[in-house]
Symmetry: C2
Subunit: 218 residues, 2 copies
Amino acid sequence: MSSVKTDQRSTRMRMGELSERTGVPVATLKYYLREGLLHPGRALSKTQADYDDSHLERVRLVRALSEVGGLPLSAVRRVLEAISSPDVDRLGVLEAAQRALPGIRREGERGVADDSRAARWVTAHGWQVHPGDPTIADLDRAWDACEAVGLGLDEERMDAYAASVEEIAEVDVATVPQDREGAVRQVVLGTVLVDPVLMALRRLAHQHLSVSRAARQG
Amino acid sequence: MSSVKTDQRSTRMRMGELSERTGVPVATLKYYLREGLLHPGRALSKTQADYDDSHLERVRLVRALSEVGGLPLSAVRRVLEAISSPDVDRLGVLEAAQRALPGIRREGERGVADDSRAARWVTAHGWQVHPGDPTIADLDRAWDACEAVGLGLDEERMDAYAASVEEIAEVDVATVPQDREGAVRQVVLGTVLVDPVLMALRRLAHQHLSVSRAARQG
């Protein structure tokens, strides 16, 4: 059971303990290894290896992105690449990390039209965004879907949403670290992993508002 | 080609036109029919039927929920049931519709602990939410995931997010219609379909803020 050995730098462990400490089944860990989502451990023999804190951290990251972020493993791989890519200059780091992201959630079709309703709205709203950015197409499609089912999402309501979302984005940006790697990591992970936090908060706020409304009416 | 007939109430069409007007392949429409996600058309013969505006609307709804909302068809079915359920009293309509939702995105495990960090935060924040609500467990897990990868999401930052999200929720609630069915529909669809709008806005706001920052620094 106790396969833990300690050296001066990191706790070493066998795969069974890595599984136990991350809650990820051994079969899944082996799959991550085969797929290159997890780097190999230190070989102890032809059939055995041990793992350290870097493996622990990586498994938690893959799990968070796939289970909480809801990303397919192909997208998890792209996020991991974006985090470790040296191919980004320091000033444009936030923008570049953002660019790596939009295509993540939905694979496949994403046409961008400059004269789409979303593109016109972004311009009118005064947001400085790269005109060809695929997120504009995402916004356009999401807006269309609301329209298609009659949700009545007009420009005025979009402006109201945007004002509150900009406050959220300011909190995000204020907490981005100065160093390049830390910044990329924070932006990429923060985008994917904070979305579920905000979605849960929105549902809870709906409940709070409707309960307090009902109490006032009752 | 022109199989459209008009009566006083609704445009009637064959399946080929239903497919053309919704952008959903005929094979998928047949699948929706088999799965009960789409109600049968009016039988014209043993092998032929025609469809009307109610089918058009339903197909657009199923498509919006599955493609933009990212819901699996089992969850789409639950949303459709929640929308048409008569089993909700008028005052509690918002809350009941909300309750139908949280389990949608992720099937399976969702333990709720009263003393979880999220539950304690909700109480401290003064939000009136049903203590056993599964969304609290969603929030707890999403928060844990941010923690696990070192995003530094503390109570203070959660409070800041919550304040902006509450503004968003107020916009949502202000636009909910008075009638029961309209309200359930708006809340259920608005929750699922506005999430992608807000996620896209957040990415665009990040870009806008980093571009304007970079411009100030350059």
